[in-house]
Every structure is written in structure tokens, then in C-alpha cells.
């Protein structure tokens, strides 16, 4: 049996990869045939009477909430297997059973969320079919074949999930373990493909392709799938899922840390929280750049959508986004600073914390400084306009790019100090190595600021946007170069045991804050992304003529998303509790 599984499961995982590669061709073929059979109709022109009513239900709010819940749970159940697979592989490579234990524990926690994801998906579909039948009919005519593939991959994902979970203990080591990892890969590949397919539908509604101005489909579904935003959206959501999964696992660990009394268990959950948070923050580092690409593509596609997004109506939601991301960075740093106490040498770095905090806070304030200010009439009269003469330049993207890169560098510095809290290098060139690292940081900061100031404010807009690339490259270069140097510098270092579990309870609340911030951000920015279509179902092709075809106020949107966040987090807390209850029962049975 073991031998057979050994051969079949990795093959199954490998088979999924070419399937993904040929998907576009299959889509094309399907619709080439379909196009021959039938001419496609233009997008329907609807009136308010074409939108069914059901009781006193507000259709937009119903669909909005269902979509939001589905997206949160879907992100959770897509993120967790990525995270679990990473941990499992690391555990095998490092031969450390702790990783395996944590990975399995979390897969178990996420099981309940799978069924809720399916339920919320069903509710969303129901809402769309009931309230927006013409839109669904139009989208189905274009994406019908992808919807069938969606169902197929949903089936593959479910099957892989069950084999992955129930096979965990039956495939504990050797070749079977690698076979199990192969199933995990299949699970992730199918889950990610599901997301990519759904992304195609969503991005088509924003930047339609494969249709003419009247919405007549050209018959090639691959054209519609590979629309302007599909690539950036796929990348952004994929990275974000890893970060999100890490943050939720870290929150679970924090929940357990605060609840257990036993020192060994406390140490276990402390380690789990740290590892999960490391993955979350590691994935968070490239996320702003993926987001920047997505936004630049939105601007490039439509000036109107771009300005609505960041310069006009929704600019203040971006300020809220900046505030939440900044808070997230502060929380991540606070967690690392508190963790310095785990190492015996941690105390020697306490004195640097206030300087790091100062730089991060200063960068944070620049990061969320708005360009268009909220002014009292007296302030408006004193300033003569909506822009502040001193703070105005800080409201532009070059300042934001500069600030976020510096924030990332100093967060990385906190991480370096944390790593050194229990390591003392023994190589002769340690002091020179420190000097080189310091020089790298200094040169990087000078370069980032120069790029931001010179290209951002003294050249034209093409260079201004392009200068963000070398800024990011500088940050990434310093991170990679310092990690390589740290590796060689600490290869034979004196390493003391980290005191897991010896960390203030306060630090665990930082992990909660990170998870909540991620959730809230996803809701707010998801709303903005969707709402920049304004009164269009499919931007510039199919007009939304329902009674709800108006953009709600920022306050209303923020309330809906915030209530959604509370409901979702309450459900996640319930899942944690449920899982813990099952574990306690299981332990008793054993």
C-alpha cells in the first residue's frame, strides 16, 4: 500500500502542473468551437425593473456581505495549506518534529473553515443569481467553460484536502512523507488555480477584454481571462494569502499562549506564534510592491478609475489603509522588540529600540499624510487651499514609496537584532562585518531618499513612477546581502537556547492586532477595488441600472466592512474554540 501511494501521489501532484499550463489552450479551444456555433450577444442594457426584489432585502448589501465573507474564508483556507505545506517541508528538511506538529495542528483548525467557505460561496452565488440574473447570464456566456473548470478544481481540492489531512499520520516518514507533501502540493495547486479562475471573473468586470465596446464577446475565453488586471491581481492575492495565513496562525498561537498554564505548552505556542508571524511579515515585505503594480495597471487602463481610486473619491480610504498598514508594521516590530528578552543577549539591544521606533514612526506619519486635507474653514482660509505648503509634497507617491522602503528596512533591522539576541559571532571579521552591514544600511537609505526626492519631485511623471523600482531593488538587495552576511558571520557563533515562553503577554496582543488589521484591510481595499467601477457591472461595457447603482459614502462602506470584520473574527474565534474543544476531548480519549 505504502509503495503504491509512494508512486501514485507524487505523480498526481505532477500531473496537475501540466494541466495548469494547458488550461488556457483548453479554454481557447472550447470557445473557438462555441463561437462557431453561436454569435455572442452584446451586453444587455438593463432598467431598474430588470433587478428582482426579494422581501425587504437590500440586494447590494446582501451580495457585498456574502462576497466579503466568502473571500475572507477562501483566503483563510487557501492560505493555511500554503503555510502548512511550508512548515511540513521545513520540518522534513530540518528534521524538526515541532514544525510537523504545528502544521498538522493548524490543518485541523482550518477544516471547519472549509465547509463555511463552501456555504458562504453558495450564499453568494444564490444572491447573484437571485438579484443580478442578467449580469450572471452575461458573465456565464463568456466564462461558462471556466466555471466548469472551477467546479472540477473544487472537486480536486476537496479530494486532496481529505487525503492530505487523513493521510498525515498514515504517511509519517520516508518516501510516504514525500508522497504526502506531493498531495499537499496538489491541494495548493488546485486551490490557487481556483483563485486564479475567480480572479479572472472579477478582473474582467474591472478591465474587460475579449469584448468590443458593446460587450460582444469575441469567442476566445482566454482573451477575457487574460485581461489587464488578471496578472497583477493573481500575484497580489497569492502573496497576500501567505501573509494572511501566517497572521491567522499567529493569532491562534497567541490565543493558545494566553490560555495555557503549562510552561512547555506556553513555549510551544510562543514558538508557533513567532514562526507564523515571521512567515506573515516575510510575505508582507513584497506585498506593497505587488500592490503598487496592481494600482499602476489600474491607472494605466483608466485614468478615471485610477484617480477615483487614489486621488479622488476613495483617496481617504487609502489613508485609512496606510494607517492600518503602519499599525501593522508597528505591531510586528513591537512583537520583535518584546521578543528580545527571549535571548540572553537581548538586553544589549534595548537601547536601539527607541531610535528604530522613531524612524519607523516618522516614516509611518509620512506614509499616511494625505495630499488633500480635511480642513476647518479657518484652516482652509489660512492655507489658501486644500494643500499644505509644507506637508503637501508628503502626500504624493514618491514620499510614500520612500517612507515604506525605509519602514521595511528598519523592520528588517529589528529582525536582525532579534536574531542576534541569542548569538554571539566568533569569526575574526565580525566587527568588520558589522561595519559593512551598517554601511549597506546607510547607503541604502541615502539612495532611497535621493531616488524619492530627485526623481519624485524634479523629473517628469514617467521617471517618478519608474523610480520606485530601484527603490525596491535597493531594499531587497540590502535584505538579501545582510542575510547572506549574517549567515556566514554566525555560522560558528556561540548560540544560546532561546527562552520560548518568556515573553510579556502584551506581545501576544500585537499578533491579534496583526490578524485583525489584515482582515480589515482586505475588506476595505476589496471594497475600493470593486467600487471604482462605480455605476458599471462591467466597466464601460455593462451599466448597473439597479436602484443601488450609486457609490455609498466612505463612512457607510467603512461601517459595513467593520461589521463584517467583527462577524468574521467572531467566527474565527469560534473555530479556534471549537478546535481546542476537540483537542481537549481527543487528549482525554487518548
Amino acid at each position: 500500500m505504502e509503495h503504491r501511494l509512494n508512486r501514485i501521489l507524487p505523480l498526481a501532484a505532477l500531473a496537475a502542473i501540466p494541466l495548469l499550463l494547458i488550461l488556457p489552450h483548453i479554454f481557447s479551444e472550447c470557445h473557438a468551437l462555441a463561437a462557431e456555433a453561436a454569435k455572442f450577444a452584446p451586453a444587455p442594457v438593463l432598467s431598474s425593473g430588470d433587478y428582482p426584489k426579494a422581501g425587504g432585502v437590500n440586494p447590494r448589501l446582501f451580495v457585498w456581505m456574502a462576497a466579503q465573507m466568502h473571500l475572507w474564508f477562501a483566503a483563510f483556507v487557501l492560505a493555511v495549506p500554503i503555510f502548512v505545506l511550508l512548515l511540513e517541508v521545513v520540518g522534513v528538511i530540518k528534521k524538526d518534529s515541532r514544525y510537523d506538529k504545528v502544521a498538522y495542528e493548524f490543518l485541523r483548525v482550518s477544516l471547519t473553515a472549509y465547509s463555511i467557505t463552501a456555504i458562504t460561496g453558495g450564499v453568494l452565488l444564490l444572491g447573484l443569481v437571485v438579484f443580478y440574473p442578467d449580469l450572471m447570464k452575461y458573465l456565464s456566456a463568456i466564462f461558462g467553460s471556466t466555471m466548469l473548470f472551477y467546479a472540477l478544481f473544487f472537486f480536486v481540492e476537496s479530494a486532496a484536502l481529505y487525503v492530505y489531512y487523513y493521510g498525515w499520520k498514515a504517511m509519517p516518514s520516508g518516501g510516504l512523507k514525500w508522497a504526502h507533501i506531493g498531495v499537499g502540493l496538489l491541494l495548493n495547486a488546485s486551490g490557487t488555480t481556483l483563485m486564479f479562475i475567480a480572479n479572472a471573473w472579477v478582473t474582467f468586470m474591472m478591465t474587460p477584454a475579449g469584448v468590443d465596446i458593446a460587450g460582444v464577446f469575441d469567442g476566445n475565453v482566454w482573451h477575457a481571462v487574460r485581461n489587464h488586471l488578471w496578472g497583477p491581481m493573481n500575484l497580489h492575492r497569492f502573496i497576500a494569502n501567505i501573509a494572511y495565513g501566517g497572521s491567522i496562525v499567529a493569532a491562534y498561537a497567541a490565543y493558545r499562549f494566553l490560555g495555557v498554564k503549562d510552561r512547555a505548552e506556553k513555549a510551544h505556542y510562543d514558538w508557533m506564534g513567532y514562526t507564523a508571524n515571521l512567515v506573515a511579515i516575510g510575505a508582507l515585505l513584497p506585498l506593497p510592491f505587488a500592490g503598487y503594480w496592481l494600482t499602476a495597471e489600474i491607472y494605466a487602463y483608466s485614468q478615471q478609475m485610477g484617480i477615483t481610486l487614489m486621488g479622488g473619491l476613495f483617496a481617504w480610504l487609502f489613508i485609512i489603509q496606510a494607517v492600518i498598514i503602519g499599525a501593522l508594521f508597528l505591531a510586528a516590530n513591537y512583537y520583535l522588540w518584546c521578543g528580545l528578552g527571549r535571548g540572553v543577549n537581548g538586553e544589549r539591544y534595548y537601547k536601539y529600540v527607541k531610535y528604530i521606533a522613531f524612524v519607523i514612526a516618522a516614516a509611518f506619519l509620512v506614509w499616511f499624510t494625505p495630499h488633500t486635507l480635511v480642513l476647518t474653514p479657518e484652516e482652509a482660509a489660512a492655507l489658501g487651499g486644500q494643500y499644505h505648503p509644507l506637508l503637501g509634497p508628503l502626500g504624493l507617491m514618491p514620499a510614500k514609496n520612500t517612507a515604506v522602503n525605509i519602514m521595511l528596512l528598519f523592520t528588517f533591522l529589528s529582525f536582525l537584532l532579534y536574531r542576534r539576541a541569542h548569538r554571539t559571532p566568533t569569526v575574526k571579521w565580525a566587527s568588520k562585518g558589522n561595519a559593512v552591514e551598517a554601511a549597506l544600511f546607510t547607503a541604502a537609505i541615502v539612495n532611497i531618499v535621493w531616488l524619492g526626492v530627485y526623481y519624485g519631485y524634479f523629473t517628469n511623471s514617467v521617471y517618478k513612477v519608474a523610480s520606485s523600482v530601484p527603490q525596491v531593488a535597493t531594499t531587497l538587495f540590502v535584505i538579501v546581502a545582510c542575510l547572506v552576511m549574517e549567515y556566514f558571520m554566525h555560522r560558528k557563533a556561540e548560540i544560546s537556547e532561546l527562552r520560548w515562553g518568556v515573553v510579556p503577554d502584551r506581545s501576544q496582543y500585537a499578533l491579534f492586532l496583526i490578524a485583525v488589521s489584515f482582515t480589515w484591510l482586505m475588506g476595505l481595499m476589496g471594497f475600493v477595488r470593486s467600487a471604482i467601477r462605480q455605476h458599471w457591472h462591467v466597466y464601460s461595457v455593462m451599466r448597473d441600472n439597479s436602484p443601488d447603482a450609486f457609490t455609498p459614502t466612505i463612512a457607510y462602506a467603512a461601517k459595513v466592512v467593520s461589521i463584517g470584520t467583527i462577524i468574521f473574527m467572531a467566527m474565527i474565534a469560534f473555530i479556534f474554540w471549537l478546535s481546542h474543544m476537540g483537542q481537549v476531548k481527543g487528549a482525554g480519549d487518548e
Binding site: G311, A357, F368, H371, L375, G384, L391, G392, N460
Partner: protein, 248 residues
């Protein structure tokens, strides 16, 4: 002592934020100060509580005030004074009866299309028809810019100023005042098609998100020809040394 340090640090940053208003007459908006101070206080608090010992020392005076029986008199005084001060602050803030603060998008999103001169313009795709002369025929381009400057000084400079700095003769009578075209945060941020729309339709053509519509900018479509508008746009960029936003 540590609590005092905390308060003084926060106070220092608060005064720093107040300084532009006090010394330069250019106040940092109260809404922004509130946001800044919220995170400054949080950051200082975080730095001071990374160890249990630090947190204990920071909160010790408050704990002592609440729990120490020997501080009964001070406790009672504080418990009376603090609510009174808070109450007065609320009362005082309500006394001014000032108009509400405003959030107005200075550069609201343009529509996808605009109609003028019996034509429909797609703002996503149109460009300045005279721009290509910049490379192909510099002498002609210079002439277009000069024509644009004449349009500007006959029509626009009264409000926007002879230096394009938003300080024209009439500017001081306007609320809000015209924005300067100089600098890098107004027209340098925008595509030429955006300026075309704003000049064409003026304040009356602002979308609702641009409201409260207090722009005094007239709609120039009845006063200027299409070519004149494109040429004055050339002049605005040329004079200020800015380059229109583009994506290639």
C-alpha cells in the same frame, strides 16, 4: 519619573506639530494633528513597555494613585479635577459653532467621455494634438506655446497669476484660491486630457465628489476654441517646466 518622561515626549511632538501654525501662519490641520498624535502616543507607549520592568515603572504612579491608601486626598482631587477638565474641553469645543470640516477632492476623477464642440471626447485616449510638434517641429511647437501664452494672459492670468502661481489679481477674493501650476503636485500629476476637461467644463462641470462645488473656474467651452485650450495647456506645462503625466 518614567510617566513624566512619557508625557514630556508626547508634549514635545505636539508642540512641534503646532509650530508651523504658530510661527509661519500655516497650521497643520487639527484633523491631521489628531492622527499624528494618536500614533506618536502609541509609539512612545510601545517603546516604553517592551519589558515588564519598563511597563511596571511607567504605570507605577497611576497604580499607586489608585491603590495607595496614603494618597487618598490626591486621588480624590484627581478624580474630581479630571472629569471637570474633560467636561470643559467638550463644552468649549461646542461653543464655536463653526461650520463643519470639509473633505473635498481637489482633483476628482474625470468622466470617461465629455461632449463639446459637437463632438465626443474619450478622455482615456485623447492627447494634445500639438504635443507631437515638440519633437517633430520645435519651431512650430514654440509658436503653439506662444499662442497658448496669449490665450492665458487674455483669459486666465487674472486668477491664476502672471507667474502661474495661483496669485492673480482676483485670487484673493476667491475661496478656495486657485491652485498654483508651479511645483510638482498639481498639473505635473495629471494627463493633458484631464486639464482639457477641467478647462472645458470648469467648476460647473465638477462631479459631485468634487463638491462642495466651490470652484470659481468658469466653463471655457463657450469662450475658447478646442485648439486654444490645447495650446494653453502646452503653455502651462512649458512655462512651469512640468511634463504631463503619461504611461510610456
Amino acid at each position: 519619573m518614567r510617566l513624566l518622561k512619557f508625557v514630556l515626549t508626547c508634549l514635545f511632538f505636539y508642540l512641534l506639530l503646532k509650530a508651523p501654525g504658530l510661527f509661519l501662519g500655516k497650521p497643520v490641520p487639527s484633523s491631521l494633528i489628531a492622527m499624528y498624535m494618536f500614533f506618536i502616543v502609541i509609539t512612545v507607549l510601545l517603546v516604553m513597555t517592551i519589558t515588564d520592568d519598563g511597563a511596571e515603572k511607567l504605570f507605577a504612579p497611576i497604580r499607586s494613585l489608585v491603590e495607595d491608601p496614603s494618597k487618598k486626598l490626591i486621588r480624590n482631587v484627581v478624580f474630581v479635577v479630571v472629569p471637570i477638565v474633560c467636561g470643559y474641553a467638550v463644552y468649549d469645543s461646542g461653543e464655536k459653532k463653526a461650520p463643519p470640516t470639509e473633505l473635498r477632492a481637489v482633483h476628482p476623477a474625470p468622466p470617461a467621455i465629455v461632449k463639446a464642440y459637437g463632438k465626443t471626447f474619450d478622455l482615456a485616449s485623447i492627447g494634445n494634438p500639438f504635443r507631437k510638434a515638440e519633437k517633430e517641429d520645435p519651431a512650430a511647437f514654440k509658436a503653439f506655446v506662444k499662442e497658448g501664452s496669449e490665450v492665458y494672459f487674455k483669459n486666465c492670468f487674472f486668477c491664476h497669476g502672471d507667474k502661474l502661481d495661483g496669485k492673480g489679481h482676483y485670487a484673493h477674493a476667491l475661496e478656495l484660491r486657485p491652485l498654483p501650476f508651479t511645483g510638482t503636485d498639481t498639473i505635473a500629476q495629471l494627463q493633458e486630457s484631464y486639464l482639457f476637461w477641467r478647462i472645458l467644463k470648469g467648476g460647473p462641470g465638477l462631479p459631485r465628489e468634487g463638491g462642495p462645488s466651490i470652484s470659481a473656474m468658469p466653463a471655457w467651452e463657450n469662450e475658447l476654441t478646442e485648439d486654444e485650450i490645447w495650446k494653453v495647456i502646452l503653455f502651462l506645462y512649458d512655462y512651469t517646466g512640468n511634463t504631463p503625466r503619461s504611461w510610456s
